[in-house]
Symmetry: C2
Subunit: 342 residues, 2 copies
């Protein structure tokens, strides 16, 4: 956060979900808001419900540009993102809250399409938007629409999903090919004239996650959706917080040819690109086949595949075994590879 | 929402909490997100907690300009606003979620002062920020800082606070003088060179509200904080949703001389100006004295006063009896009297 001269200022990269975001959190935010729940830094906070049970609570702001992109719009993202943050913590949504900051001059038909997407995604996920707020700011003071969604859900008694549950030998499964959300948004923004089959994967994952949990009660250790920071950020965090080495096998990481092509075109590493309809499931080896099978039976995971495992080494690093037989350490992305991707 | 020519567009007034906000909600938002909980349009949604109890959930975005003003900053507002929305529904907060949209170039010391205020107000209210999110947008794409806060709280068994509980003869109490938040922000923005004693009243009201509820169990019918739309908006809504006439007595409505002066200077009606530390309590007549006494014993309500009552007429209107003995109907403010006040 130090800049060479004068007052330190916020940079785009502080919002990228990478190392600079961590630094802002660690240096500026956490010391002020310090508490045991916040310190866990999970996708959702886990709270006592006041009557002996547990609730999950999550919040995310969406600032994607353009507002509409192949495969969805900011309204799909806002609902799916919140549903997925609850679902990876094992929580069943009780309600979603949605707040809009609109820019003066926004065409109302655009707002209507975004709200249609909110409604459709909520219906798909079986969740309800129970409360909301709307603010309007002057022309040029915001950028179309910002949406913030919060969600609250109930965690079943006894269910614990956490990096600290992870054991050597556990397997990592992903439900499909990587990078398509970030690539679809970047192509729509940077090369709007390009015709490409790459579409955002945005989708609510709660029914898929429920199917995986039901297939192997007590055998899933941890789940997370590789959004900002991509699979690289997820696995680097998992290594740090579990304390074990996470081993990825590059030959098994699924990537559609058109996504690989688009990533090459944009000079991006597919491992670092945000997804909005993917989940990494860490499962005990004994239950691996059952969970993989259950996932493949779901329309959002027909191409689910095992991409790595938890190693014995207790060094908290993530390693990838490359297609040409090499090995390298996967670092958490530093800053903002892809600004305003969600 | 119809404009004379071309595509209908969002106007600043759609965010003012007045009739135009209602129109946007009714025409554009509610038909798409229609459900029983959202349709109640209370400050917080009331949800089944999945185990036989009830939760309250609320969300608000804060876009105030300037970020810092006499009496507080956007961080105070974001926490107090959410705590107050839960408290007026009788809910005890379980956790607060806070999401930041920061503008590239924002001086980090400003962010630190805002976070200090978040922390101090949370401490004052006895609540915890359990989860959050941070996004950064490019210079000129947002305006300093937008904060969205969501809150979840537990509603005690049996407690029902709603406009539908209100009965003729019930009394309206307010905890102190009106208009100071909106006036402090407007003066800071429009006349920054002016030296004035007007300061925002921003404060978390949960301990005051708990004291009022404890003084007369089952006797408080409804509570609400007069934020956007002011006392006029609150009472017009209460009349509409209770179906009774709400009668205000202008001679009893508290207003500090400096606030009256500032409102005159800015050409504003104090009844329509946003407050951030005020609550209107509707209480059964038998418990009125006890509740008023309990409130006055609290530092945030030393000048609490009775400002009106619920009349017999079933016309759903709000009437004010003026200082010179006249009567007029109080309408909900139309649009955005005060843009970006919270």
């Amino acid at each position: 956060m130090n800049t060479p001269h004068g007052t330190p200022r916020i940079m785009l990269a502080h919002g990228g979900g990478g190392q600079l975001t961590d630094e802002l959190l660690r240096q500026c935010i956490m010391p002020r808001l310090d508490n045991a729940v916040l310190n866990q830094l999970l996708d959702s906070a886990i709270l006592p419900d006041g009557q002996g049970g547990r609730l999950a609570m999550t919040i995310d702001s969406f600032v994607v540009q353009p507002l509409e992109f192949p495969g969805g719009n900011i309204g799909d993202l806002a609902v799916a993102g919140t549903v997925n943050d609850l679902a990876v913590c094992g929580a069943t949504p009780l309600g979603i809250a949605l707040s809009l900051v609109l820019c003066e001059g926004l065409p109302i038909p655009v707002l209507e399409r975004v709200l249609d997407a909110v409604a459709a995604t909520a219906r798909k996920a079986g969740v309800t938007v129970v409360t909301g707020d709307t603010k309007v700011v002057g022309h040029g003071q915001a950028d179309g629409i910002f949406i913030t969604t919060a969600g609250v859900g109930r965690i079943p008694a006894g269910l614990i999903l956490s990096p600290t549950q992870v054991q050597p030998g556990d397997m990592l499964i992903i439900n499909g090919p990587l990078g398509e959300h970030g690539l679809a948004v970047m192509l729509a923004r940077e090369m709007p004239e390009l015709i490409t089959p790459v579409k955002s994967d945005v989708a609510p994952l709660n029914s898929l996650i429920n199917a995986a949990l039901a297939a192997a009660p007590g055998q899933i250790r941890f789940m997370r959706d590789p959004t900002r920071g991509g699979l690289a950020g997820l696995c680097a965090d998992l290594a740090t917080h579990s304390g074990y080495r996470v081993v990825l096998d590059e030959t098994h990481i699924p990537l559609r040819p058109e996504a690989r092509h688009a990533a090459d075109l944009l000079g991006l590493d597919p491992l670092e690109i945000a997804n909005e309809g993917k989940v990494v499931v860490v499962v005990a080896p004994a239950a691996h086949d059952r969970v993989l099978q259950a996932m493949r039976a779901h329309p959002l995971a027909e191409s689910a595949v095992t991409i790595g495992h938890i190693g014995e080494l207790r060094d908290g690093l993530c390693e990838i075994r490359t297609t040409i037989g090499g090995r390298r350490i996967v670092a958490k992305p530093y800053g903002e590879q892809l600004p305003r991707i969600c």
